[in-house]
Every structure is written in structure tokens, then in C-alpha cells.
């Protein structure tokens, strides 16, 4: 195992730990937007972690996964914030 790989491992571990830290906010809230923020962190961090994993495992398709994750992250946020129509 060469130096680059070890450093990439270190980076992914570090990233995972920061994601866990951010997830504490999902646990303690207090409001729903607060919790959704930590989902957003997990989305962005997940994209980052997928890119690192793609390099480490040599599976370039994981970048496609990152692409889908990036696209779908917006959907969950929109689902949270939309209101149903009630003026008719």
C-alpha cells in the first residue's frame, strides 16, 4: 500500500467522522429545518465520500452514484418545504 492510498484512507475516515458529528444535529434538532440541515450535510459529504471511495476502490461508476445523490438531494429538501395548496 503506497502513501497516496494511506492518505486517501485517512481523508475518508476523517470525512466520515465529520459526517457523524453533523448527524448529532439530526438527533438533537430542535426544529425540522435543523434536522434537514444535517441531511444536507450528509448529502454533500456523501458525494465527497463516494468520490474518495471511487478513487480507492477503482470503481469509476461510484462517480455516477455521486451524480444521482447530488440530483436527488434537492428533491428531499423540496419535499420538506413545500406546502399543499389550500386556496381553492
Amino acid at each position: 500500500m503506497n502513501a497516496i492510498d494511506s492518505l486517501l484512507f485517512a481523508a475518508s475516515l476523517f470525512l466520515l467522522v465529520t459526517l457523524v458529528t453533523g448527524l448529532v444535529r439530526a438527533l438533537i434538532g430542535p426544529s425540522l429545518p435543523d434536522r434537514m440541515l444535517s441531511i444536507q450535510l450528509l448529502g454533500t459529504g456523501g458525494v465527497a465520500l463516494l468520490v474518495l471511495l471511487a478513487l480507492q476502490l477503482g470503481i469509476s461508476a461510484l462517480v455516477d452514484v455521486a451524480l444521482v445523490l447530488a440530483l436527488l438531494a434537492a428533491v428531499a429538501a423540496a419535499a420538506l418545504t413545500r406546502r399543499e395548496r389550500c386556496d381553492d
Partner: protein, 345 residues
Amino acid sequence: MQMTAWHLMDMLLALLLLGLAWGALSTRDLKRGVVLFIAFGLLLSLVWARLRAPDLALAEAAIGAGLSGALLLSALRDAPAMEESGEKSIIPKLGVGLLSLGLAGVLAWAWFVAISAGAGERLAGIVMVRLEESGVGNPVTAVLLNFRAYDTLLELAVLLAAALGIMSLGPARRPFAPPEALLASLIRWLVPLLILTAGYLLWVGAHAPGGAFQAGATLAAAGVVLRLAGRHRIGLPAGIRLRLLMAAGAGMFLLVGLALMLTGRPFLGYPPTQAGLLILLIETAAMLAIAATLVLAFTGGRPKTDVLANTAGKLEASTASGPVPVRPARAGGANNDCNPEQKAC
């Protein structure tokens, strides 16, 4: 060094998943539960990536993190059904604990047997040897649409059954309010990109991770976003064409299978030279059906303007008698967007 690094990451991920599963289910606050469950789905996608299952990571990213999240977040609005029932479970706590432990134990035993079986007996070897005859280069697609095509046919039938169930249970939720400027501009580029990505995933699925399921889920996300933005037209056709579209996946599968039987081959036994084309044909139909089903699932019921359902509703209204209450909104849903039980309407 490499091994320990992987071990640390695996331990962290496994513990995190356990913690999120526990946290999502042990809380009495449903919002917290749903958000933690979405986080669980996102993390699961990372686990699939780490375990070298990019096909699953794609599906989980689209479904687990995106569509399920949207589905559950809208379900949070149906507050009454989702409130704490206050009823005590009739099963004693000890019994529940024992049952759960029992399930975990049985699974652990099954897992141990699977792990310790000789490597030579695995199906993986057969798949890899015969991959060339399958017409596609991605082994997961080969298993899904060729070697175990029956499974996938039945899966599409399950999906169709679920869609029919949802449609027959009642009208769709009320549509969403018109979007603010920012959301309007978001969907202007997000929807085309989702459709484009769906096409890409469908095509690339033949030789790389991707395929009808991931593509269908991504395509469905386009419909969900349009719906969230308050659009009336979200890409779903109406009336009989909607039903045909939902049946397209299983239908195309059956058609191809039967046509092959006419040529003297077994049901779904593709000739190796045409296998690739036939699989693409089935996958395209399956993608459309999956997308239609998932969008319909998100709207929560049959479309308000659904001609067929409304005629059925009127029939129901004219024939119903006795204790079954038929509320006018269900029969005449087309001209009224509001559910009468919502106090505001």
C-alpha cells in the same frame, strides 16, 4: 495498514447504521424518526458503495435517500393517521424482545451457513462463465434480465399490484402550492437533468452499473419534483394510457417471452445474438412503468382528473347503499381539489 484502515471505516459505518436504525425507531417524535430514517438510507448507499455494489448504491441513492424521503415527508402531513395511537401492544415486551432476538439469531445462522459454504458452489461462478451469452456486460443486469428474468417479471407484477392498490384506495393528495421563483428556476434545470440521467443510466446499465430500476427511480424523481412545484402536468398520462403505462413493464416482459415461445425457444430464453436488444427493449418499458408507478405512489392515489376512476366513483355513488358512506368529493372529485375532511376547505 490498509486492512486496519478499512476495518476502522467498516466499524464506524456499521455502528452508525445500527445507531441510526435504533434512533429512527426509538423516538416518539415522528419528524425526528423520518429524518433519521432518511439519513439511514443515505448512509446505506455509502455502505453499498464500500461493499463494491455500485448498482445498489445507485438505486439506494435514488430511492432510499430521495424518493422514500419525499414519500415519508409528505406522509408526515397526514398527521391523524400517523399520530401515536396510545394503544399498548397486545404482545408483552418480553415476547417482542425474544422474537426480535430470534429473528436476529436465525439470520445470523443463515449468514454463517452462507459464509462458510464452499466457494465452488456459488452461483457467481456460473454467472461469470456465462456472462458472454447474456447479451449484456454488467453481471447484475445479466442476472436480473436474463438468468433470473422470472424474478424480475414477478417483481414488475408486484409493482403493478402496488400501483393498482394505491389507485383504488382513493384520490391523490391535494396538489402543492405554486412555486416561488427560486424553486421554479430549480426545476427548470433539474427536471431535464434528471430525465437525461435516467436515459444515461438505462443505456449504461448494459455494461456498467445502472439499469431499468435506477433509471426508473431517477425518472420518477423528475415527476416528483414537478409535482412538488405545484404543476398540474407531471408527465403522467391520463385514463387508459396511464394504466397501459403502468402495465408496460410486466406486459413487455410477457410479450417478449411469448414471442420467443412462438419461435420455438423457451419462455424468456433469448437467442444470444438478439439478447442485448431484447433486454434493452424490456428495460425501456420497465423503466417507464417503474417511473409511472413511483410518481403515482408519490401523488398518493388516482389522479383527480382521472376519467375512468370518476365514472367508477359515480357508479359507486349511485349503487352504494346502507352503512357505507360515500362522500360527494369522491364521486365528483374532478371539480374539487380539496378533501372535505380538511377543515380549511
